[in-house]
């Protein structure tokens, strides 16, 4: 067990604990904050995996922008808690059974063909996964998808504005 593996185990414990806490906390604000912790733990893990650029994107976009949006909507709606009665009694046990079944199935598919733990045997050079290399790939071979991404973001922005605005025009048309 080398240092990297110990760091991985610590980060994995943080990620799992924060994910479970997100599921069980009754307050949606706590859920959001636990999810931020989870994203940051995974981002540090990306740093260990030669993915510095993705780690920083994860922190700025996921843990930053997206979670701020979540917290903003939670506080805007005042929807931290739901105290209503559960409508379907059998939902929780059924979800637990299905979740365990899915876990077993995914573990089987993933590890059936694998013969023991594998890691990249060759020592990866410092250039692999550097922001320079990723950026060069992004702006050469994948420049068209990159530009399409901007169109997707624009469409999402317009869609969000259209969905969330006050419908003054339609209200005015009503007799």
């Amino acid at each position: 067990m080398t240092t990297d593996v110990w760091i991985f185990l610590g980060l994995a414990a943080i990620a799992l604990a924060s994910a479970i806490s997100m599921l069980v906390s009754r307050n949606a604000v706590y859920s959001a904050l636990f999810l931020v912790l989870n994203f940051v733990a995974v981002a540090v893990l990306y740093l260990l995996l030669n993915a510095a650029f993705i780690a920083l994107v994860q922190v700025t976009v996921y843990a930053g922008a997206i979670m701020v949006l979540f917290l903003f909507v939670i506080m805007l709606l005042g929807a931290e808690r739901l105290d209503t009665e559960r409508a379907l009694k059998w939902q929780q046990p059924a979800a637990a059974v299905l979740g365990v079944a899915l876990l077993a199935e995914m573990a089987m598919v993933f590890f059936r063909g694998a013969g023991g733990p594998t890691a990249p045997s060759a020592v990866l050079g410092g250039a692999f996964g550097s922001p320079t290399a990723v950026g060069r790939l992004l702006f050469s071979s994948y420049v068209l998808p990159f530009e399409v991404t901007s169109v997707v973001l624009l469409a999402a922005m317009v869609g969000a504005i259209v969905l969330a605005r006050e419908e003054r025009g339609r209200r005015g048309e009503k007799p």
């Binding site: 990297d4 990249p120 969905l163």
Partner: protein, 101 residues
């Protein structure tokens, strides 16, 4: 020795299943949405692990696009939740049963 890919895949699988459980169990629409983000995150972790295993940067580029699309998805999804809240005055997903036959 660096981190074995199998460990990363195991973490990814467990995080994904936790996300699935969140979608199935929780009724707060915002928490359900956050669970979907958790699943995307687990898939990203698997992609990064495979990119390192194959020593190919395409996996990292794909993760970049996944994150960008997730940002767009969150913007539209939260706008939908706000709209649902305006009409139903609740974000309990059990209340949103207008399509039940």
């Amino acid at each position: 020795m660096s981190i074995p890919t199998d460990y990363l895949l195991a973490l990814s699988v467990v995080l994904f299943v936790l996300g699935i459980l969140g979608v199935l169990v929780r009724r707060n629409a915002i928490v359900v949405f956050m669970s979907i983000e958790l699943m995307l995150n687990a898939a990203n972790l698997a992609l990064i692990a495979f990119a390192r295993q194959a020593q190919d940067l395409i996996g990292q580029v794909l993760v970049f696009f996944v994150i960008a699309v997730a940002a767009a998805e969150v913007a539209v999804g939260l706008a939908l939740i706000v709209t649902i809240f305006k009409s139903k005055h609740s974000i309990d997903i059990d209340q949103v049963s207008g399509l039940r036959g």
